[in-house]
């Protein structure tokens, strides 16, 4: 009798352990999917930027410096992102710098009414600003997933399993210094 009770307990604990493990795997997969989605949008941004710069440079003759910075930021982001399966600090910083320089370009483009009349430019602007949004939302989803996963990894009893099977904490994508500086430097818009 006692034997069966002990056996039953062991089986029950086993099942419980498996379900905890599976939960961690599910959360970790979601984090990986989140990063993959960010990556898709980052690549799309790399592809769109040269087209946009090419089509606005005739209109924005006085902004060659800004355009050069955008291209430079794009190239260094491509380089930093190459071959990273998970976010590295270097690639996150490079992407943030790119976001900041694009933000400047968008703000400056407001000064050129001719740009508004050009349909190709407008389409590229919509695509690029939507891609910016998508990166933002993908980052939000990634950070939420990573937070849920990290909470699970750290809390009892999941941490027993996480420690044994090598579930490491995921890195959050914080707003980096370059981007924060750009946000603070952005002109205040009075909507009234």
């Amino acid at each position: 009798m006692a034997f069966w009770i002990v056996l039953g307990l062991i089986v029950a604990i086993g099942f419980w352990g498996v379900s905890l493990y599976n939960r961690l795997v599910r959360l970790k997969t979601q984090v990986a999917n989140g990063w993959a989605q960010i990556d898709v949008q980052l690549k799309r941004r790399y592809d769109l930027i040269p087209n946009l710069v090419e089509s606005v440079k005739d209109y924005m003759g006085y902004e060659q410096e800004t355009l050069r910075q955008v291209i430079e930021a794009r190239n260094s982001a491509v380089k930093a992102n190459a071959g990273t399966a998970t976010p590295s600090a270097a690639s996150l910083n490079a992407e943030s710098a790119l976001t900041a320089s694009l933000g400047r370009l968008f703000a400056l483009s407001e000064n050129y009414p001719n740009l508004k009349a050009n349909e190709t430019v407008q389409q590229l602007m919509e695509e690029l600003s939507s891609t910016e949004n998508k990166i933002g939302f993908a980052r939000q989803f990634y950070n939420d997933s990573a937070t849920a996963y990290n909470t699970a990894v750290l809390s009892f009893p999941d941490n027993l399993i996480a420690g044994r099977f090598g579930f490491e904490q995921a890195t959050l994508w914080q707003v980096a210094e370059a981007e924060r500086a750009a946000v603070e430097a952005a002109p205040k818009v009075d909507l009234r």
Partner: protein
């Protein structure tokens, strides 16, 4: 712009400022209770009908006997439950196509509606879901809907009038609300609730009809008071059950609207877009032509069918009032 964002004072129970996660948790609890009530109502109705039949069939209408568990009553409850499950399976497999037909929505490509496609894709990314199909209803009315028994087969549709009168931020709020319905599996929820309500109405109606038929042939009261009591209970149930079921259905629907609003804020992290959109919808609702009908009204972001009178009973409304929704969203923004 600023004036559009400040909330007008709203009467009614005030919702405390709270974050969207606890708003969602509370809503899921409420919905679960309401659906449990609905299932219980169906089972009790099935039981009462079976029980009345058994009492009817027994020679002497001993009411005391009927206080014991009625076998036919249990059978009735099981039968009603079984039919409900079968009807749900049929609806889940073909309901989407029917809804697209009923609303007159046409699927659009990314080439013809790039901004709408982009906004839908942005919200799908925020929700971590595959991108739904995108549809437009060619009407000047302002509305939006979502269908799809699962997030993999979802469609989000908006009217042409909505596309014309909202800015990108407001459109994003509306699409986020619809994505909230997809994420929270509301379409499936409301289909299941609709089936239960329809079934209860149908069975009650059948019971009442057969009573009227049976009543004429054998009501010559030689069996006394027992029969009258059984009859009374059955009639009372057959009349009240569909009404109660309908009220529960609309209560579930209103809860899901609030939940989708809260989810929209979770996705956009910006309540102002949806608040702005709801204000535009409210300003527009008197002049808008009607789309949809009583069968499809629950899938839209605002009720597409005009109420008989403006003070129409809140108990039988599929959507909460816009003022109340804006009030709750404003509180979320403050929280």
């Amino acid at each position: 712009m600023n004036a559009a964002v400040t909330a007008e004072p709203v009467t009614g129970p005030r919702v405390n400022g709270t974050d969207f996660l606890s708003a969602q948790a509370e809503n899921r609890r409420n919905t679960r209770w309401l659906i449990l009530i609905l299932i219980l109502l169906g089972l009790i109705l099935g039981y009462v009908i079976g029980w009345a039949l058994e009492a009817w069939a027994s020679a002497d209408y001993q009411v005391a006997d009927t206080l014991n568990i009625s076998a036919l009553g249990i059978l009735g409850a099981l039968a009603l439950g079984g039919i409900g499950i079968i009807a749900s399976i049929v609806t889940f497999s073909s309901g989407d196509r029917i809804i697209m037909k009923l609303t007159g929505a046409e699927e659009v490509t990314a080439e013809t509606e790039p901004v709408l496609h982009n906004v839908v894709e942005e919200m799908a990314i925020a929700a971590g879901l595959p991108k739904p199909r995108v549809a437009v209803i060619e009407t000047e009315a302002l509305n939006a809907f979502a269908t799809g028994m699962s997030p993999q087969k979802a469609t989000i549709g908006v009217t042409r009038g909505l596309l014309k009168s909202l800015n990108r931020e407001q459109l994003q709020g509306v699409v986020a609300h619809e994505m909230g319905h997809v994420l929270n599996l509301d379409i499936r929820y409301m289909a299941a609730v609709g089936i239960m309500v329809g079934l209860i109405a149908l069975v009650s109606d059948l019971a009442l009809r057969s009573l009227r038929m049976g009543g004429r042939s054998r009501s010559s009261g030689k069996k006394g008071g027992g029969a009258l009591i059984v009859l009374l209970i059955l009639v009372l149930f057959a009349i009240l059950a569909p009404l109660a079921a309908q009220a529960v259905r609309f209560a579930v629907s209103r809860q899901r609207e609030y939940l989708a609003d809260a989810t929209a804020v979770q996705l956009t992290r910006n309540p102002l877009g949806l608040i702005g959109a709801l204000k535009v919808l409210e300003g527009h609702k008197e002049k808008a032509p009607e789309i949809g009908n009583r069968a499809t009204q629950h899938i839209f972001i605002v009720n597409p069918v005009k109420a008989f009178k403006s003070g129409g009973s809140a108990l039988f409304a599929t959507h909460p009032s816009l003022a109340e929704r804006i009030e709750r969203l404003t509180n979320l923004g403050r929280g």
